[in-house]
């Protein structure tokens, strides 16, 4: 492997930070969309549905390519000279968009699964809308959403490999460069698979732990 071990370590941190940043942004955005879909008027509802349908119906690779190359064109037009969008930024935006599309549906389903009696009981206790979300619906909804939400994180870690196609030096990119320079593709791609497999295993285990710690209430 030569000097590629240190590169793999750096690439691992790049992959993890890409996944964490876009996962957190996607969660926040998805939660926002799911809540606004549950409460608001039909027009906003339709916009959110259209967003999730488009995001979930288009390949992740195409979204990454669109945001990377499209973003470069847009930034160049605005600046009036050639500006290249950072691959990491493009990756974060693209993966957040993808993650939020799926997370919206997961959270929407979980909100719908909380019994209506809970909201009514909270109303009858005199809690306002904010308190109802924070203390009654939120905790129950998050527990219900946890298994499906965990699967989203696993797919997110796998989707980060696609950002290497637009030149981000993540695990996949280092494996590609190493495979080319040392003429040992099998070794490098096996190493990359092992790294991805350990990442998804760690994610899976932490999700299982969280599920055991916070099981769905009243089941």
């Amino acid at each position: 492997m030569g000097g590629f071990t240190t590169q793999f370590v750096v690439a691992l941190t790049v992959t993890i930070s890409l996944a964490l940043v876009s996962g957190c942004l996607g969660t926040a955005f998805g939660l926002f969309l799911a809540i606004s879909k549950g409460t608001a008027q039909p027009r906003l509802n339709r916009v959110v549905t259209a967003y999730t349908t488009v995001v979930r119906g288009v390949p992740e690779l195409l979204i990454i390519l669109l945001i990377y190359f499209g973003g470069t064109t847009l930034a160049s037009t605005i600046a009036g000279r050639y500006v290249e969008v950072n691959a990491f930024t493009a990756g974060v935006i693209a993966l957040s968009v993808v993650f939020s599309g799926y997370a919206t549906e997961v959270f929407r389903g979980a909100i719908a699964a909380v019994p209506a009696g809970q909201t009514e009981a909270a109303k009858s206790l005199g809690l306002n809308a904010w308190q109802r979300w924070m203390f009654v619906i939120g905790p129950q909804m998050l527990r219900l959403a946890l298994p499906a939400y965990g699967n989203l994180w696993i797919s997110l870690f796998k989707d980060t490999a696609l950002v290497s196609i637009v030149g981000l030096t993540d695990i996949m990119r280092v494996a590609y460069v190493g495979a080319g320079s040392l003429r040992a593709p099998l070794t490098f791609y096996l190493a990359a698979s092992a790294l991805y497999l350990s990442l998804t295993t760690v994610t899976l285990l932490s999700i299982r732990l969280a599920e055991r710690r916070y099981p769905a209430l009243g089941r």
């Binding site: 119906g57 390949p59 195409l62 390519l65 989707d159 290497s164 593709p185």
Partner: protein, 249 residues
């Protein structure tokens, strides 16, 4: 936005739909055929066998499809024995590599989906089938699998959509399906927005059609009182009253 370019893309890109659909349909078919026995092994096999299937599905589902594709396309050539064997004719061709990767992936996902379906078949149904004197294979073919298939159809729909989307990875090994053609067009026209948006619209229509088709299939297969089944039931001649042959005590 350049509408002329978008029109150009609308004319050029549909020629990639054929390859996308070929890859998707072939890999889904191969994956399904492989996954049916694997799902039975995973659900009802001996612990060792079940664990072996689980390790296959776990590794395939735990690594990105891109890594697997590159492993097969670039990696296998490193082994001298592979290059000397007759399989090299197939394995050096990007189309067969992509197809093999997608099939392995689809098989792993479908195995887990069907396994969950098989496990949720009510036990009383199989017990009833056993008491009717059906053999184990007959039970699997006539009772367990049809019920499990119906249960897992919604999840399998997600897998179909995922495969249509996943076939876009074939563009990374020089195949010219929709994404590949779009990337080629972008590299000559430098107009990413127009062309990628058209490509996305094509994918969206393909996935929407797949979702609709799965929903229709679900409705067609559902047993609770749909029209076809009711008509069939009406056309069937009423069964004669069973004659009591054993003397009543």
């Amino acid at each position: 936005m350049n509408l002329g370019l978008m029109l150009d893309a609308m004319v050029v890109l549909p020629s990639g739909v054929g390859l996308t659909l070929t890859l998707t349909v072939l890999s889904l078919t191969a994956g399904f055929l492989v996954s049916v026995p694997l799902a039975f092994m995973r659900a009802f096999g001996r612990p060792g066998l079940s664990l072996a299937v689980l390790s296959y599905t776990y590794v395939i589902r735990g690594t990105p499809m891109l890594v697997q594709l590159f492993l097969l396309y670039y990696g296998l050539g490193q082994i001298q024995a592979v290059r000397a064997s007759i399989f090299w004719v197939i394995l050096r061709d990007p189309f067969w590599c992509a197809l093999l990767t997608f099939s392995l992936n689809s098989a792993a996902h479908t195995t887990e989906i069907l396994c969950r379906g098989l496990q949720s078949v009510p036990k009383g149904v199989t017990e009833a089938a056993t008491s009717l004197g059906l053999k184990r294979f007959q039970i699997a073919r006539l009772v367990t699998f049809p019920i499990a298939f119906r249960i897992s159809l919604p999840a399998y729909g997600n897998e179909v959509v995922g495969m249509i989307k996943g076939s876009s990875l074939a563009s990374t090994v020089t195949l010219l399906e929709i994404t590949g053609m779009a990337r080629q067009m972008v590299s000559t026209t430098f107009a990413p927005y127009e062309i990628f948006i058209v490509a996305g619209a094509i994918y969206l229509s393909l996935t929407s059609i797949a979702v609709k088709a799965i929903q229709l299939l679900e409705r067609w297969l559902s047993t609770d009182g749909n029209r076809v089944h009711r008509r069939k039931a009406r056309l069937r001649p009423p069964l004669p009253d069973p004659e009591i042959t054993t003397p009543l005590p």
